[in-house]
Symmetry: C2
Subunit: 208 residues, 2 copies
Amino acid sequence: MNASFTIEGNLVTESTAGRRRGDDLERAIFEAALAELAEVGYANLRMEAVAARAKAGKASLYKRWPDRARLIQAAARYKATEVDTEFEPSGDLRGDLRKVMRYIAEYQGTPFGEAIRGWIGELRADERDAEVEDLRARIETPRIRVFAKIYEDGIARGTVRPEALRPRVVNLAPTLLTHYFLTRGAPADDAVIEEFLDQIVLPLITAS
Amino acid sequence: MNASFTIEGNLVTESTAGRRRGDDLERAIFEAALAELAEVGYANLRMEAVAARAKAGKASLYKRWPDRARLIQAAARYKATEVDTEFEPSGDLRGDLRKVMRYIAEYQGTPFGEAIRGWIGELRADERDAEVEDLRARIETPRIRVFAKIYEDGIARGTVRPEALRPRVVNLAPTLLTHYFLTRGAPADDAVIEEFLDQIVLPLITAS
DNA sequence: GAGATAGTGAACGGCGCGTCTCGTATACCA
DNA sequence: TGGTATACGAGACGCGCCGTTCACTATCTC
């Protein structure tokens, strides 16, 4: 009925699509899930609402993921792959840290942040599995890499102590941001980030 | 029917109680809620199960709290008042910090920790109110006091930098523990606590 | 074009929520 | 001590959402 060119790269999906299948449909479900997440939050997210928003049947959801938690996990993962931006240190230690921390905080304000809050709420130590671990690693690893790069740059310039590369230290800045986000309900604003830098991160890592 | 002395201080509650009322019943509900929390976790906690365990009617629960979140909040608060132990620094900075941190980690392994995980999952910035804020303060304040005391002691001895008393710094150790607990699903063990001390807390606060 | 595959929409039983009612135990007061 | 008001226990109720199933239909493959 509608213009369905047999092109692999999907451009048709938008307006006049008939019935979507496979990855095409999957993406639509992810987008719907993330939109719902942003609107109502994880606790109030209904599978029926996601299906309706994606104009899909519930069966199509349950065919792919066993429950809400897995769907959101998958959606988060899908969105996460879009984000891993490369970052080049400018040499301005404080400025670089501030920039990356603001970026993380901003990120937490998106549906993605809401997803993290959600699966933390449902998480019990005895229910964790490889997939959950994988998602956690997928979030942590690129962050570690960015901070490590900044610290390495600083060490080379003599402004940062070599101990800054110890794993717990590299993770410190994201840890502060995530803890704030989880316990306060909203990401840290610029003033709070400044306090983290002044009182904790910079005093700890700068060479005396 | 059973021995119901008209004594205010309740000793009768246990074995042969007939029908409990007021605070007496409330305590029983709290204990039931915390027990359920420990067994099935927040996500799987059912009001019906709490009522059944407390041998109470559901109506008795809903008469007191509007929903699950409030019940668990109240239960956590009830238990929190039992805990605020006073702590006297021994002068052994590292030993004192380790001791308090282990205590907090242990605490997170109880139903109380599960309660925290629960209300974090349901938390959205736009839904927060005075009661939630109050509970958060109720948890944070005694911790801050204990760490502040330890740091003040160290400052007096010259082993700790005065900057350790800045608010974000005083909160740092509990922040690390809570973040670990929330993101990993289980409290930090002794080895992790040792890393926090070695890599972060002590380097930051000790006088050079 | 025909068969295979995958999606839609609706209906279903089940469960837990939050409310309500009824009968009964406990507290308060004459 | 007896009578009344209040609070509670047990369970039924309608509702909303879960996760499954079914009949039907669109899309892909050959």
